[in-house]
């Protein structure tokens, strides 16, 4: 069995999102807690800006959750930068036990899965899940210099300047993390770095198929099925291939990368990507919809492309991963 049903579902007691100017100008702009038009967050390098975003996001999440000094007991965090330095430097000042994760853009779900499992098992009373990405630090590391004059492929995606933090706790009034499904590494031979959606979609399909097959549930049992950052291409591929497998998700399926930007007006080609993309959409937009009662039961699966530019130059293909988190308004939400 790959689906893990949490015996003591942890509650999200506080969450916060911090974004850059472009993300704030997008359709979800009003849902984010904090933004900086310049994306610098008062720092003199992009790497420091990303760390500052994580620091701000965790601080805000703790404040919104009215948390005391004892929270969080542990931090699970990650980002896209080499050696996970966005998280390490950003969270240094909190003086809390820390696990640095690398799941590429799946990191926020990975952090939520691990935090939820350890809280449910009773090892921690609460935990923080955080991830971030910054367009400028990611471009430098994965693509070309920022001012380099080039054209993007139509299938390319835009790394979000965003961070999201959630405080999970053994006690709280929800929403709750009721089930998780840790993803497997799936590589279907895509080597086009400009088509990450296609590279990651097979992982999402694997995770979703495993979930539906094991639980016997159908897509219509959920208010929303939300992938992390598959973008336009990955979203369409997932929808089509899931339908072929007998799971029609047409009415309930969306993608954080598609929600974050106005795709045609903001010149982001296939949509958003990056660890911060789904983290900010979940902690900003989705949690607000839970609070309003618009959502009761969702499947969130963040997808990551586990590649490095060096390995791709050596001829490797792009493996993907997708961790699934079921979020429910009710503690016994899995009964529904």
């Amino acid at each position: 069995m790959r689906v893990l049903r949490l015996k003591n579902p942890p509650s999200v007691i506080g969450c916060a999102s911090v974004v850059g100017g472009k993300e704030h100008d997008g359709p979800l702009g009003a849902d984010f807690d904090l933004h900086d038009e310049t994306g610098t967050f008062g720092m003199d390098t992009w790497e420091k800006s990303e760390s500052e975003m994580q620091r701000l996001a965790l601080n805000l999440a703790l404040a919104k959750g009215k948390c005391g000094d004892d929270v969080p007991e542990v931090i699970f965090a990650g980002d896209l930068m080499n050696q996970c330095t966005g998280s390490a430097y950003g969270l240094l000042g909190f003086c809390k036990p820390y696990f640095g994760l690398y799941g590429a853009c799946s990191t926020f779900a990975e952090a939520t899965v691990l935090g939820s499992l350890l809280i449910s098992a009773g090892y921690f009373k609460n935990a923080a899940a955080i991830s971030s990405s910054h367009f400028c630090s990611a471009e430098r590391q994965f693509r070309f210099p920022l001012e380099y004059g080039g054209q993007r492929a139509p299938t390319a995606q835009w790394t979000a300047t965003a961070a999201g933090a959630a405080i999970l706790s053994a006690s709280g009034n929800g929403p709750y993390v009721t089930e998780v499904l840790p993803g497997m590494i799936v590589d279907k031979g895509i080597n086009d770095v400009n088509n990450m959606g296609a590279a990651m979609a097979p992982a999402a399909i694997d995770t979703l198929t495993a979930y539906f097959a094991e639980t016997g549930k159908q897509p219509r049992d959920f208010d929303l099925i939300l992938t992390g950052d598959l973008g336009l291409e990955g979203h369409a591929i997932t929808l089509e291939l899931m339908k072929e497998r007998g799971y029609d998700m047409t009415d309930v399926y969306n993608d954080c990368g598609l929600l974050l930007y106005g795709r045609s007006s903001q010149d982001v080609h296939c949509g958003g990507s990056g660890c911060g993309c789904s983290a900010s959409v979940i902690c900003g937009h989705i949690m607000k919809r839970f609070a309003k009662g618009e959502l009761k039961n969702i499947l969130y699966l963040a997808t990551g492309a586990l590649m490095s530019p060096g390995r791709l130059k050596q001829g490797a293909t792009i493996p993907g991963i997708a961790h699934l988190v079921r979020i429910s308004a009710e503690k016994n939400g899995w009964e529904g």
Binding site: F144, L146, E147, Y148, G149, G150, Q151, I205, E233, L241
Partner: protein, 148 residues
């Protein structure tokens, strides 16, 4: 469809939107042509200032490199290049941008290990293989000179 690697690759390639080649070619032609026309105007402008033709042939590319690097610094070059594509890439302006942009990016890592070491990460291959090609060409030219 079973997610067989080959089949999936074909499926993905078949459905991926293609770059608008015709539009890109037209933009590249107009902007690239514009840059060349501007260079031609510079050429005649410098000649009109009674500079020798030999010096003008150096001054024109120097001016273009300077302007491209300056516009890169102002953050304008990439906005134009996004539309122009090969139009800004192929002339010497593209080369100037390829050197200036990593220099700006890596400034935070210091003048030696940042700017100095990483300035040629994009343009480096062009220099290496450009020089190599020149050497090979020169060698053939030399052999040809002896033979004839």
């Amino acid at each position: 469809m079973n997610l067989d690697t080959n089949e999936y690759g074909k499926f993905v390639r078949a459905r991926a939107p293609k770059s608008p080649v015709l539009k890109n070619c037209l933009c590249a032609f107009l902007v690239g042509g514009g840059i060349c026309a501007f260079a031609e105007a510079l050429f005649h402008g410098y000649l009109a200032l009674h500079i020798t033709e030999e010096n003008v042939k150096t001054l024109v590319p120097v001016t273009l490199i300077f302007l491209a690097a300056l516009l890169t610094g102002f953050g304008v070059f990439d906005d134009v290049a996004k539309i122009a594509g090969a139009g800004t890439l192929v002339p010497i302006t593209g080369f100037a941008n390829a050197v200036a942009s990593p220099a700006i990016d890596n400034k935070s890592e210091g003048l030696v290990l940042g700017v100095g070491a990483q300035m040629f990460t994009v343009a480096g291959p062009v220099i290496v293989y450009g020089v190599l090609t020149s050497v090979i060409y020169g060698f053939i030219y030399w052999i040809w000179g002896i033979a004839v």
